[in-house]
Subunit: 340 residues, 2 copies
Amino acid sequence: MARRITISDVAKLAGVSHQTVSRVINNKPDVSPATRQRVLEVIKKTGYRPSGLARGLATSKTATIGMVVPDISNPFFSDIARGIETTAYERGYNVFLCNTNEEPERELEVLYSLEQKQVDGVILCGLRQKTPALLDALERFFAVVLVNRLLEEKTFPAVMIDNQTGAKEAVQHLLNLGRTNIGLLVGPAFSYSAKQRYQGYIEAMHNAGLPIQDGWIHNCIPTVEGGEQAARVLLEAHPEVNALFCYNDLVAVGAIQACHALQRKIPEDVAIIGFDDIYLAALVTPALTTCRVPLIEMGHHAMGLLLQQINEKHLGSRVITVTPQLIIRDSAPFAHELTP
Amino acid sequence: MARRITISDVAKLAGVSHQTVSRVINNKPDVSPATRQRVLEVIKKTGYRPSGLARGLATSKTATIGMVVPDISNPFFSDIARGIETTAYERGYNVFLCNTNEEPERELEVLYSLEQKQVDGVILCGLRQKTPALLDALERFFAVVLVNRLLEEKTFPAVMIDNQTGAKEAVQHLLNLGRTNIGLLVGPAFSYSAKQRYQGYIEAMHNAGLPIQDGWIHNCIPTVEGGEQAARVLLEAHPEVNALFCYNDLVAVGAIQACHALQRKIPEDVAIIGFDDIYLAALVTPALTTCRVPLIEMGHHAMGLLLQQINEKHLGSRVITVTPQLIIRDSAPFAHELTP
DNA sequence: CTGTTAGCGCTTTCAA
DNA sequence: TTGAAAGCGCTAACAG
C-alpha cells in the first residue's frame, strides 16, 4: 500500500496541469487528442483512480445511495436488494446496505450515518416507524424512495404491491375450489400490507355473498412459527374451516405444519395459499400456491425512481404499483385437480 | 433541501473557531466544558452533521468497507452479509454491498469502484476468479479479508469452513445408520469447497475400510435442479445406493425430489444429508439432516479480522476456521429411529 | 484552552 | 486548448 497516486502525479508525469487531467477523466471537450492520449497512457500506466471523496466534496454528488432494509437475510428483502443493486451498478452507483434489524431506533441511526456519508439518495424498504424525527431525517435527503410502505404525513415516490387485488384473487381461487369456510391468517396487527390483504379477503367474501366470521380471522407473527401456532389455534377452534389464506409464505408453511400435526390433509381437508412466492414456496410439500410478488423488479423500479429524482426530474409522489400473480401449485390446485 | 450546514456555520453561531467545533465533534480534550456545551447546543439546534467526505479527505479514513458477494439473494451469502453488517454497524462502519452476479468480470469492476470510494477495507465472499488483475486490485486495498476461499498466490486473512471435517462426520453418520453404499453429489468441479467435501467423503469411507466407487460420485450444479438431475441419474444407474451426501442443501432438496419421482422412500430406501443448513433445510419434507455452517458468525469473524487489520495490527494470513455441526433431522435420522 | 494556517484531491471559474 | 486560483468541509500541526 504505497501512497495513493493523485491527479497531480498524473499531471506531472504527463507534463500537463492537473486541470487537464481532470478534463480527460471527465470526458470534457477542449483537450487536444494528442494531450488526451498522453494523459490516458499515464493513467493506465500508473493505475490512477480518481478519489471519490475529493470528487464528492467538489461536486456534492457521490454516486452512492443508501438502502435500508429490516433484515437482509429475509428472502423478501434480499430479492429486492438484489434488484436495487443490479440497477444501481448498471447506472454507476454504489449501494450502502443498512440493516435495521427490525429495530425502529436503528432506522433513525442509519439515516444519520447515511446523511454523513452524503449519499445522493435513500431507498427505504418496509419502514417500521413514522415518528416526526424519522420524517425530519428523510427530509434532509435529496432523494427518497419508499418500498412497500406509504407515509400519510408526507408523500414520497414509492414502489408498492397491490396487496388487495392479490389477496382478492387468492381468496377467489379458494372459492372456485368450492371452499367457503376460508380462514385468514392475517399477519401482524400493525402491518400496512396486512391491512390491505385483509381488505382483499373481505372484498372477495362479500362478492361471493358470504358473511365474515371473526373467528376465522387470526393475527399472527409473520414467521413459520407464528403461522404454525395461529393455524393450530384457528383449526382447533373452527374445524369447519376448509381453506386458509395466509399473510405470507412463511406463515403458510407454518400452516402446513399445523395441518400435518392435526392430521388435516392438504388440499383435501384444508387448501392453503401464501403470499410472496419466495424461493421456499415451490420446495415445500405440498408445493405452495401463492401470490407471486415480483421482488427483483420492485428493486429495479425503486432504483429507477430514485435516479429520476437525482436527475432533477422531481416527480412528487409518483407511485409504481406492481400486481401479484397467482401461482397455482399443490396446496390449492386447480378445481379439476381436486378430487372431492 | 437547503444548503448543507457546515462546521463554519456552527462555529459562527457558537462564537468560536471551526477548529474548536472540530475538537468537540471528535471528543478531543482541551475544550472548556462551557465552550463544549455551547457548541453542542448549536449542533443540536442546527442538526449539523459533519461531512464524511471532508473528513475522509482529511484523514484518509472513511469508516466504510466493501463487501463483495456473488449473489445477495442466495441465503448462504445473505446470512454472511447480515453478520458482516451487524458487526460493522456496531463498530461505526458502513458497508457497500457489491453483487458480482456470479460474473467474474464484475469482481474486478466492483473492486475498482470500491477503490475509488476509498473504503477502509474489503471482504470478499466466495471469490470466483484469481487472475493477476484481481490480485493486483486486491493489493491496492489497505485491508482485505476472504471468506470461504483461499488464494494460493497470496495469503490474506480469511474465514473458512472446515469442509472436510463436516463432510467426514456427515458420511460417518450415514455409516452409523448401516449404509455403506453412499453416493456423493459433489457439486461443481471447479469449486474449492467441493474438493474439500470430497476429501471428507473419501476419508470417512477409507476409515470404514470401504472402497470408493466412481459410479457413486457425480458432479452437479449447486441448485435444486442440479441436484434433482444428478440424483436421478445416479440412482437409476446405481440402484444399490442407499444414501446420498450432497454438496449443499439445495442439491439435497433436489435429491429429495428425485427420490420422490423414483419412488424411493427417504430415509428408508435412501438417506440424505445436505450442507449449510439454510432456513429451507428444516422446512422441506422430510426435514433435512445437514451440516450446519454458522454463517452469521462467519460474517462477524470476517468483519472482526478486517477491523484488526484496519487498526494496524497487521495479522499476515490469519485464518479463522469454523466447524460445521451435524444437525440430525428426518432425512437421515438417528439409528434408533430408523426401523430397518 | 483556543485560534490560525495549511493542506487532503478534486472541480469550477476565470484568464490567458 | 490550456493553466492558475479558489474553494468544497474537514483535520493536523502549530502558535498563542
